[in-house]
Protein backbone atom coordinates (compact mmCIF):
# COMPACT_ATOMS: atom_id res chain seq x y z
CA UNK A 1 0.00 0.00 0.00
CA UNK A 2 2.86 2.40 0.80
CA UNK A 3 4.18 1.77 -2.73
CA UNK A 4 0.82 2.78 -4.12
CA UNK A 5 0.69 6.01 -2.12
CA UNK A 6 4.20 6.98 -3.25
CA UNK A 7 3.55 6.17 -6.92
CA UNK A 8 3.35 8.90 -9.52
CA UNK A 9 -0.09 7.70 -10.66
CA UNK A 10 -1.58 7.74 -7.14
CA UNK A 11 -0.27 11.28 -6.60
CA UNK A 12 -1.84 12.40 -9.85
CA UNK A 13 -5.14 10.82 -8.79
CA UNK A 14 -4.96 12.73 -5.50
CA UNK A 15 -4.45 15.95 -7.50
CA UNK A 16 -7.38 15.06 -9.73
CA UNK A 17 -9.79 14.14 -6.95
CA UNK A 18 -8.92 17.14 -4.77
CA UNK A 19 -9.21 19.38 -7.85
CA UNK A 20 -12.63 18.03 -8.76
CA UNK A 21 -13.76 18.42 -5.17
CA UNK A 22 -12.70 22.09 -5.32
CA UNK A 23 -14.59 22.47 -8.61
CA UNK A 24 -17.77 21.26 -6.88
CA UNK A 25 -17.17 23.72 -4.04
CA UNK A 26 -16.52 26.53 -6.55
CA UNK A 27 -19.85 25.85 -8.25
CA UNK A 28 -21.71 25.90 -4.95
CA UNK A 29 -19.89 29.12 -3.96
CA UNK A 30 -20.90 30.75 -7.25
CA UNK A 31 -24.55 29.75 -6.89
CA UNK A 32 -24.68 31.43 -3.46
CA UNK A 33 -22.69 34.49 -4.53
CA UNK A 34 -24.77 35.26 -7.61
CA UNK A 35 -27.78 35.71 -5.34
CA UNK A 36 -25.99 38.75 -3.87
CA UNK A 37 -26.67 40.42 -7.21
CA UNK A 38 -30.13 38.98 -7.84
CA UNK A 39 -31.72 39.01 -4.39
CA UNK A 40 -29.86 40.28 -1.28
CA UNK A 41 -32.34 38.61 1.07
CA UNK A 42 -31.71 35.17 -0.41
CA UNK A 43 -27.97 35.86 -0.21
CA UNK A 44 -28.26 36.76 3.47
CA UNK A 45 -30.38 33.72 4.20
CA UNK A 46 -28.09 31.25 2.42
CA UNK A 47 -24.93 32.87 3.84
CA UNK A 48 -26.34 32.66 7.33
CA UNK A 49 -27.16 28.99 6.80
CA UNK A 50 -23.61 28.30 5.60
CA UNK A 51 -22.17 30.28 8.49
CA UNK A 52 -24.13 28.61 11.30
CA UNK A 53 -25.17 25.15 10.13
CA UNK A 54 -23.13 22.72 12.28
CA UNK A 55 -22.73 20.23 9.42
CA UNK A 56 -21.27 22.92 7.17
CA UNK A 57 -19.15 24.52 9.87
CA UNK A 58 -17.72 21.49 11.61
CA UNK A 59 -17.65 18.87 8.85
CA UNK A 60 -17.72 20.42 5.36
CA UNK A 61 -15.52 23.43 6.19
CA UNK A 62 -12.60 21.34 7.56
CA UNK A 63 -12.93 18.97 4.59
CA UNK A 64 -12.79 21.95 2.24
CA UNK A 65 -9.71 23.39 3.92
CA UNK A 66 -8.08 19.95 3.83
CA UNK A 67 -8.93 19.69 0.11
CA UNK A 68 -7.26 23.03 -0.61
CA UNK A 69 -4.15 22.11 1.40
CA UNK A 70 -3.85 18.65 -0.18
CA UNK A 71 -4.21 20.11 -3.68
CA UNK A 72 -1.53 22.75 -3.35
CA UNK A 73 0.91 20.76 -1.19
CA UNK A 74 0.75 17.84 -3.63
CA UNK A 75 1.02 20.28 -6.53
CA UNK A 76 4.25 21.72 -5.11
CA UNK A 77 5.63 18.26 -4.29
CA UNK A 78 5.02 17.08 -7.84
CA UNK A 79 6.51 20.27 -9.29
CA UNK A 80 9.71 19.80 -7.25
CA UNK A 81 9.90 16.16 -8.39
CA UNK A 82 9.36 17.21 -12.00
CA UNK A 83 12.12 19.80 -11.83
CA UNK A 84 14.50 17.13 -10.50
CA UNK A 85 13.61 14.88 -13.44
CA UNK A 86 15.48 17.28 -15.77
CA UNK A 87 18.69 18.26 -14.01
CA UNK A 88 20.17 19.96 -17.10
CA UNK A 89 17.83 22.18 -19.10
CA UNK A 90 17.70 22.66 -22.85
CA UNK A 91 19.48 25.61 -24.48
CA UNK A 92 16.41 25.86 -26.69
CA UNK A 93 13.02 24.38 -25.79
CA UNK A 94 10.01 25.07 -28.00
CA UNK A 95 7.23 24.12 -25.61
CA UNK A 96 4.63 26.07 -27.57
CA UNK A 97 5.09 23.71 -30.55
CA UNK A 98 3.40 20.81 -28.83
CA UNK A 99 1.46 21.97 -25.76
CA UNK A 100 -0.71 24.89 -24.71
CA UNK A 101 0.67 27.70 -22.53
CA UNK A 102 -2.01 26.96 -19.96
CA UNK A 103 -1.07 23.28 -19.60
CA UNK A 104 2.62 24.13 -19.25
CA UNK A 105 2.09 26.79 -16.59
CA UNK A 106 -0.38 25.26 -14.16
CA UNK A 107 2.01 25.89 -11.27
CA UNK A 108 1.95 29.66 -11.96
CA UNK A 109 -1.81 29.96 -12.43
CA UNK A 110 -2.12 27.80 -9.30
CA UNK A 111 0.20 30.08 -7.35
CA UNK A 112 -1.90 33.13 -8.26
CA UNK A 113 -5.07 31.30 -7.19
CA UNK A 114 -3.35 30.33 -3.93
CA UNK A 115 -2.32 33.96 -3.29
CA UNK A 116 -5.89 34.98 -4.04
CA UNK A 117 -7.17 32.42 -1.53
CA UNK A 118 -4.94 33.97 1.12
CA UNK A 119 -6.43 37.41 0.37
CA UNK A 120 -9.95 35.96 0.22
CA UNK A 121 -9.52 34.25 3.60
CA UNK A 122 -8.15 37.50 5.05
CA UNK A 123 -11.11 39.43 3.60
CA UNK A 124 -13.97 37.14 4.54
CA UNK A 125 -13.08 34.00 6.45
CA UNK A 126 -10.85 35.53 9.15
CA UNK A 127 -13.30 38.36 10.02
CA UNK A 128 -16.11 35.78 10.10
CA UNK A 129 -14.17 33.55 12.52
CA UNK A 130 -13.33 36.57 14.70
CA UNK A 131 -16.97 37.74 14.65
CA UNK A 132 -18.33 34.34 15.66
CA UNK A 133 -15.71 32.67 17.81
CA UNK A 134 -13.40 35.42 19.19
CA UNK A 135 -15.75 38.32 19.79
CA UNK A 136 -18.70 35.90 20.18
CA UNK A 137 -21.17 38.33 18.64
CA UNK A 138 -24.85 37.40 18.38
CA UNK A 139 -26.18 35.97 15.14
CA UNK A 140 -27.15 38.69 12.65
CA UNK A 141 -28.69 37.08 9.57
CA UNK A 142 -28.96 40.35 7.62
CA UNK A 143 -25.31 41.47 7.70
CA UNK A 144 -23.79 39.41 4.86
CA UNK A 145 -24.89 41.36 1.79
CA UNK A 146 -23.74 44.67 3.23
CA UNK A 147 -20.38 43.23 4.30
CA UNK A 148 -19.81 41.73 0.85
CA UNK A 149 -20.66 44.90 -1.06
CA UNK A 150 -18.42 46.99 1.22
CA UNK A 151 -15.47 44.72 0.44
CA UNK A 152 -15.66 45.63 -3.24
CA UNK A 153 -15.59 49.38 -2.69
CA UNK A 154 -11.78 49.70 -3.11
CA UNK A 155 -10.70 49.61 -6.75
CA UNK A 156 -7.50 47.71 -5.97
CA UNK A 157 -9.32 44.81 -4.36
CA UNK A 158 -11.80 44.54 -7.23
CA UNK A 159 -8.93 44.46 -9.75
CA UNK A 160 -7.05 41.83 -7.72
CA UNK A 161 -10.17 39.67 -7.63
CA UNK A 162 -10.77 40.07 -11.38
CA UNK A 163 -7.16 39.19 -12.26
CA UNK A 164 -7.31 36.15 -9.95
CA UNK A 165 -10.51 34.94 -11.59
CA UNK A 166 -8.84 35.16 -15.01
CA UNK A 167 -5.97 32.98 -13.73
CA UNK A 168 -8.51 30.64 -12.11
CA UNK A 169 -10.16 30.32 -15.51
CA UNK A 170 -6.84 29.36 -17.11
CA UNK A 171 -6.16 26.85 -14.32
CA UNK A 172 -9.56 25.22 -14.82
CA UNK A 173 -9.19 25.29 -18.63
CA UNK A 174 -6.51 22.61 -18.39
CA UNK A 175 -7.11 21.16 -14.95
CA UNK A 176 -10.76 20.13 -15.14
CA UNK A 177 -10.60 17.78 -18.14
CA UNK A 178 -7.02 16.80 -17.25
CA UNK A 179 -8.24 15.36 -13.94
CA UNK A 180 -10.38 12.83 -15.82
CA UNK A 181 -7.37 11.73 -17.90
CA UNK A 182 -5.39 11.29 -14.66
CA UNK A 183 -8.10 9.02 -13.31
CA UNK A 184 -8.01 6.92 -16.45
CA UNK A 185 -11.01 8.35 -18.27
CA UNK A 186 -10.21 8.69 -21.96
CA UNK A 187 -13.12 7.36 -24.00
CA UNK A 188 -16.12 8.43 -26.08
CA UNK A 189 -17.12 10.90 -23.35
CA UNK A 190 -13.76 12.70 -23.34
CA UNK A 191 -14.67 15.19 -26.07
CA UNK A 192 -17.83 16.06 -24.14
CA UNK A 193 -15.79 16.51 -20.96
CA UNK A 194 -13.39 18.82 -22.81
CA UNK A 195 -16.26 20.90 -24.21
CA UNK A 196 -17.88 21.13 -20.77
CA UNK A 197 -14.48 22.10 -19.30
CA UNK A 198 -14.17 25.02 -21.71
CA UNK A 199 -17.69 26.25 -20.96
CA UNK A 200 -17.31 25.82 -17.19
CA UNK A 201 -13.83 27.35 -16.98
CA UNK A 202 -15.02 30.50 -18.72
CA UNK A 203 -18.57 30.78 -17.35
CA UNK A 204 -17.91 30.38 -13.62
CA UNK A 205 -14.89 32.75 -13.33
CA UNK A 206 -16.69 35.23 -15.60
CA UNK A 207 -19.64 35.04 -13.25
CA UNK A 208 -17.39 35.83 -10.29
CA UNK A 209 -15.88 38.75 -12.26
CA UNK A 210 -19.40 40.03 -12.91
CA UNK A 211 -20.29 39.83 -9.20
CA UNK A 212 -17.12 41.71 -8.17
CA UNK A 213 -17.61 44.43 -10.79
CA UNK A 214 -21.33 44.70 -10.05
CA UNK A 215 -20.73 45.40 -6.37
CA UNK A 216 -17.86 47.78 -7.14
CA UNK A 217 -20.01 49.77 -9.54
CA UNK A 218 -23.12 49.66 -7.32
CA UNK A 219 -21.86 50.63 -3.85
CA UNK A 220 -24.26 50.91 -0.94
CA UNK A 221 -25.41 54.49 -0.38
CA UNK A 222 -25.81 54.26 3.39
Amino acid sequence: MSGFIKSSIARKVVMALSGLFLVVFLTQHFVINITSVIDPETFNSWSHFMGYNPLVQYLLQPILIAGVIIHFVMGFALEIQNKKARNVGYAKFKGSANATWVSRNMIYSGLVVLAFLALHFYDFWVPEMVYKYVEVNPEMPTRYHEETVHKFEPFWRTILYVVSFVLLSLHLWHGFSSSFQSMGVNNKYSEGIKTFTKIFSVAIPLGFVFIALFHHLNPLTH
Binding site: L78, N82, R86, Y90, A91, K92, K94, M106
Partner: protein, 248 residues
Amino acid sequence: MKLYLKIWRQKNADSKGSMVDYTLDGVESDMSFLEMLDILNEELISKGEEPVEFDHDCREGICGTCSLMINGQPHGPDSRITVCQLHMRSFNDGDEIVIEPWRATAFPVIKDLIVDRTAFDRIQQAGGYISVNTSGRPVDANAIPIEKEMADKSFNAATCIGCGACVAACKNASAMLFTSAKVSQFALLPQGQVEAAERVQNMVRQMDLEGFGNCTNTGACEVECPKGISLENIARMNREYLSASVKG
Protein backbone atom coordinates in the same frame (compact mmCIF):
# COMPACT_ATOMS: atom_id res chain seq x y z
CA MET B 1 22.87 26.07 -48.24
CA LYS B 2 24.98 27.48 -45.45
CA LEU B 3 24.04 26.62 -41.89
CA TYR B 4 25.07 27.89 -38.49
CA LEU B 5 25.07 24.95 -36.09
CA LYS B 6 25.10 25.09 -32.31
CA ILE B 7 25.88 21.60 -31.06
CA TRP B 8 26.19 20.21 -27.53
CA ARG B 9 29.69 18.83 -27.02
CA GLN B 10 30.49 16.79 -23.95
CA LYS B 11 33.64 14.69 -23.63
CA ASN B 12 32.15 12.00 -21.40
CA ALA B 13 29.49 11.34 -18.78
CA ASP B 14 31.52 12.97 -16.02
CA SER B 15 32.62 16.11 -17.83
CA LYS B 16 30.69 19.34 -18.16
CA GLY B 17 29.52 20.04 -21.70
CA SER B 18 28.79 23.22 -23.61
CA MET B 19 27.31 24.43 -26.88
CA VAL B 20 29.88 24.78 -29.68
CA ASP B 21 29.33 26.79 -32.88
CA TYR B 22 30.03 25.33 -36.32
CA THR B 23 29.46 26.82 -39.77
CA LEU B 24 28.68 24.28 -42.48
CA ASP B 25 28.56 25.19 -46.14
CA GLY B 26 27.44 23.18 -49.17
CA VAL B 27 24.51 21.41 -47.52
CA GLU B 28 21.95 20.22 -50.06
CA SER B 29 18.22 20.28 -49.41
CA ASP B 30 17.72 16.60 -50.30
CA MET B 31 20.21 15.44 -47.69
CA SER B 32 18.85 13.86 -44.55
CA PHE B 33 19.67 15.58 -41.26
CA LEU B 34 22.01 12.73 -40.30
CA GLU B 35 23.81 13.04 -43.66
CA MET B 36 24.32 16.72 -42.87
CA LEU B 37 25.93 15.68 -39.57
CA ASP B 38 28.02 13.09 -41.46
CA ILE B 39 29.40 15.88 -43.66
CA LEU B 40 30.16 18.02 -40.63
CA ASN B 41 32.02 15.10 -39.08
CA GLU B 42 34.03 14.49 -42.26
CA GLU B 43 35.09 18.15 -42.14
CA LEU B 44 36.00 17.88 -38.47
CA ILE B 45 38.00 14.68 -39.03
CA SER B 46 39.85 16.22 -41.99
CA LYS B 47 40.81 19.13 -39.74
CA GLY B 48 41.99 16.71 -37.06
CA GLU B 49 39.16 17.56 -34.68
CA GLU B 50 37.00 15.16 -32.70
CA PRO B 51 33.79 14.31 -34.64
CA VAL B 52 30.37 14.91 -33.08
CA GLU B 53 29.10 11.65 -31.59
CA PHE B 54 25.45 10.88 -32.28
CA ASP B 55 23.33 7.73 -32.20
CA HIS B 56 21.96 6.24 -35.41
CA ASP B 57 21.31 2.77 -36.73
CA CYS B 58 18.55 1.87 -39.20
CA ARG B 59 18.17 5.29 -40.88
CA GLU B 60 14.63 4.29 -41.87
CA GLY B 61 12.62 5.44 -38.86
CA ILE B 62 12.20 2.21 -36.95
CA CYS B 63 15.14 1.82 -34.57
CA GLY B 64 14.52 4.99 -32.56
CA THR B 65 18.18 5.60 -31.79
CA CYS B 66 18.61 8.96 -33.55
CA SER B 67 17.54 10.92 -30.53
CA LEU B 68 18.23 14.61 -31.10
CA MET B 69 16.59 17.76 -29.88
CA ILE B 70 16.62 20.08 -32.89
CA ASN B 71 15.70 23.74 -32.44
CA GLY B 72 13.85 22.88 -29.24
CA GLN B 73 11.80 20.00 -30.64
CA PRO B 74 12.46 16.25 -30.46
CA HIS B 75 13.39 15.00 -33.94
CA GLY B 76 13.12 18.53 -35.32
CA PRO B 77 10.30 20.64 -36.68
CA ASP B 78 8.43 18.01 -38.75
CA SER B 79 5.85 15.72 -37.18
CA ARG B 80 5.62 11.92 -36.98
CA ILE B 81 9.25 11.33 -38.00
CA THR B 82 12.57 10.44 -36.49
CA VAL B 83 15.74 12.45 -37.19
CA CYS B 84 16.86 10.12 -39.98
CA GLN B 85 13.59 10.94 -41.78
CA LEU B 86 14.12 14.68 -41.38
CA HIS B 87 15.49 16.34 -44.50
CA MET B 88 17.37 19.56 -44.96
CA ARG B 89 14.55 20.96 -47.12
CA SER B 90 12.83 21.67 -43.80
CA PHE B 91 15.48 24.36 -43.21
CA ASN B 92 16.55 27.48 -45.08
CA ASP B 93 19.90 28.85 -46.16
CA GLY B 94 21.43 30.82 -43.30
CA ASP B 95 19.40 29.11 -40.58
CA GLU B 96 20.79 28.61 -37.11
CA ILE B 97 20.16 25.06 -35.89
CA VAL B 98 20.50 24.17 -32.22
CA ILE B 99 21.23 20.46 -31.70
CA GLU B 100 21.11 18.96 -28.21
CA PRO B 101 20.79 15.51 -26.62
CA TRP B 102 17.60 14.43 -24.81
CA ARG B 103 17.54 16.13 -21.44
CA ALA B 104 16.36 13.99 -18.53
CA THR B 105 18.00 12.96 -15.28
CA ALA B 106 17.08 9.37 -16.16
CA PHE B 107 18.82 9.74 -19.56
CA PRO B 108 22.37 10.83 -18.64
CA VAL B 109 24.59 12.05 -21.48
CA ILE B 110 27.30 9.55 -22.38
CA LYS B 111 29.08 11.72 -24.94
CA ASP B 112 28.07 14.71 -27.09
CA LEU B 113 24.57 13.89 -28.38
CA ILE B 114 24.37 10.32 -27.10
CA VAL B 115 22.33 9.56 -24.01
CA ASP B 116 21.99 6.40 -21.95
CA ARG B 117 18.43 5.16 -22.43
CA THR B 118 18.78 1.88 -20.55
CA ALA B 119 16.19 3.22 -18.09
CA PHE B 120 13.64 2.25 -20.75
CA ASP B 121 15.13 -1.25 -20.95
CA ARG B 122 14.77 -1.66 -17.19
CA ILE B 123 11.12 -0.55 -17.32
CA GLN B 124 10.51 -3.08 -20.09
CA GLN B 125 12.32 -5.81 -18.15
CA ALA B 126 10.17 -5.09 -15.08
CA GLY B 127 7.07 -6.47 -16.79
CA GLY B 128 6.87 -5.74 -20.50
CA TYR B 129 6.49 -9.34 -21.57
CA ILE B 130 4.07 -12.27 -21.53
CA SER B 131 4.70 -15.85 -20.47
CA VAL B 132 3.99 -18.32 -23.27
CA ASN B 133 4.59 -22.01 -23.74
CA THR B 134 7.49 -22.60 -26.09
CA SER B 135 7.16 -26.34 -26.52
CA GLY B 136 7.59 -28.12 -29.82
CA ARG B 137 3.85 -27.91 -30.39
CA PRO B 138 3.12 -24.29 -31.20
CA VAL B 139 -0.49 -23.19 -30.90
CA ASP B 140 -1.92 -21.44 -33.91
CA ALA B 141 -1.94 -17.68 -33.45
CA ASN B 142 -5.55 -17.53 -34.57
CA ALA B 143 -6.72 -20.01 -31.92
CA ILE B 144 -7.70 -17.11 -29.64
CA PRO B 145 -10.17 -14.78 -31.37
CA ILE B 146 -9.40 -11.10 -30.74
CA GLU B 147 -11.70 -8.20 -31.57
CA LYS B 148 -10.44 -6.10 -34.48
CA GLU B 149 -10.68 -2.89 -32.45
CA MET B 150 -8.59 -4.36 -29.62
CA ALA B 151 -6.04 -5.83 -32.03
CA ASP B 152 -5.67 -2.46 -33.77
CA LYS B 153 -5.23 -0.59 -30.49
CA SER B 154 -2.69 -3.11 -29.29
CA PHE B 155 -0.78 -2.87 -32.56
CA ASN B 156 -0.82 0.92 -32.39
CA ALA B 157 0.64 0.80 -28.87
CA ALA B 158 3.22 -1.74 -30.03
CA THR B 159 4.52 0.64 -32.70
CA CYS B 160 6.38 2.53 -29.93
CA ILE B 161 10.06 2.33 -30.84
CA GLY B 162 11.29 3.51 -27.44
CA CYS B 163 13.08 6.51 -28.90
CA GLY B 164 12.47 8.69 -25.83
CA ALA B 165 10.98 11.66 -27.69
CA CYS B 166 8.08 11.60 -25.21
CA VAL B 167 10.48 12.14 -22.31
CA ALA B 168 12.42 14.77 -24.26
CA ALA B 169 9.29 16.74 -25.17
CA CYS B 170 7.64 16.57 -21.76
CA LYS B 171 8.31 19.60 -19.59
CA ASN B 172 8.48 17.15 -16.66
CA ALA B 173 10.63 14.54 -18.45
CA SER B 174 7.88 12.01 -17.81
CA ALA B 175 8.10 8.53 -19.33
CA MET B 176 4.41 7.76 -19.03
CA LEU B 177 3.70 7.59 -22.76
CA PHE B 178 6.45 5.01 -23.30
CA THR B 179 5.49 2.95 -20.24
CA SER B 180 1.79 3.13 -21.04
CA ALA B 181 2.38 1.96 -24.62
CA LYS B 182 4.29 -1.05 -23.34
CA VAL B 183 1.59 -1.78 -20.74
CA SER B 184 -1.22 -1.29 -23.26
CA GLN B 185 0.10 -3.52 -26.00
CA PHE B 186 -0.36 -6.49 -23.65
CA ALA B 187 -3.29 -5.21 -21.56
CA LEU B 188 -5.47 -5.12 -24.66
CA LEU B 189 -4.85 -8.76 -25.60
CA PRO B 190 -6.06 -11.95 -23.88
CA GLN B 191 -2.49 -13.23 -23.76
CA GLY B 192 -1.55 -10.26 -21.61
CA GLN B 193 -4.23 -10.76 -18.97
CA VAL B 194 -2.40 -13.40 -16.90
CA GLU B 195 0.26 -11.01 -15.62
CA ALA B 196 -1.73 -7.79 -16.15
CA ALA B 197 -1.89 -6.57 -12.56
CA GLU B 198 1.68 -7.51 -11.72
CA ARG B 199 2.94 -6.02 -15.00
CA VAL B 200 1.51 -2.53 -14.58
CA GLN B 201 2.54 -2.30 -10.93
CA ASN B 202 6.12 -3.42 -11.61
CA MET B 203 6.57 -1.22 -14.68
CA VAL B 204 5.19 1.89 -12.97
CA ARG B 205 7.36 1.20 -9.91
CA GLN B 206 10.45 0.92 -12.12
CA MET B 207 9.47 4.06 -14.05
CA ASP B 208 9.24 6.00 -10.77
CA LEU B 209 12.53 4.52 -9.50
CA GLU B 210 14.35 5.69 -12.64
CA GLY B 211 13.58 9.30 -11.70
CA PHE B 212 11.26 10.32 -14.53
CA GLY B 213 8.85 13.17 -13.82
CA ASN B 214 5.08 13.04 -13.43
CA CYS B 215 2.61 13.37 -16.25
CA THR B 216 0.66 16.65 -16.22
CA ASN B 217 -1.34 15.85 -19.34
CA THR B 218 0.12 18.62 -21.50
CA GLY B 219 -0.03 16.24 -24.48
CA ALA B 220 3.43 17.26 -25.76
CA CYS B 221 4.53 13.60 -25.85
CA GLU B 222 1.68 12.58 -28.12
CA VAL B 223 2.41 15.45 -30.54
CA GLU B 224 6.14 14.70 -30.73
CA CYS B 225 5.91 10.90 -30.82
CA PRO B 226 7.17 9.72 -34.23
CA LYS B 227 4.68 6.86 -34.11
CA GLY B 228 1.71 8.88 -32.87
CA ILE B 229 1.20 6.90 -29.66
CA SER B 230 -2.01 8.24 -28.11
CA LEU B 231 -2.60 9.68 -24.63
CA GLU B 232 -5.38 7.11 -24.45
CA ASN B 233 -2.64 4.66 -23.47
CA ILE B 234 -1.70 6.74 -20.42
CA ALA B 235 -5.33 6.76 -19.30
CA ARG B 236 -5.45 2.99 -19.80
CA MET B 237 -2.28 2.52 -17.75
CA ASN B 238 -3.74 4.70 -14.98
CA ARG B 239 -6.90 2.57 -14.98
CA GLU B 240 -4.91 -0.65 -14.99
CA TYR B 241 -2.70 0.60 -12.16
CA LEU B 242 -5.59 1.80 -9.99
CA SER B 243 -7.52 -1.40 -10.59
CA ALA B 244 -4.47 -3.56 -9.79
CA SER B 245 -3.76 -1.56 -6.62
CA VAL B 246 -7.36 -1.78 -5.38
CA LYS B 247 -7.42 -5.55 -5.96
CA GLY B 248 -4.10 -5.80 -4.10
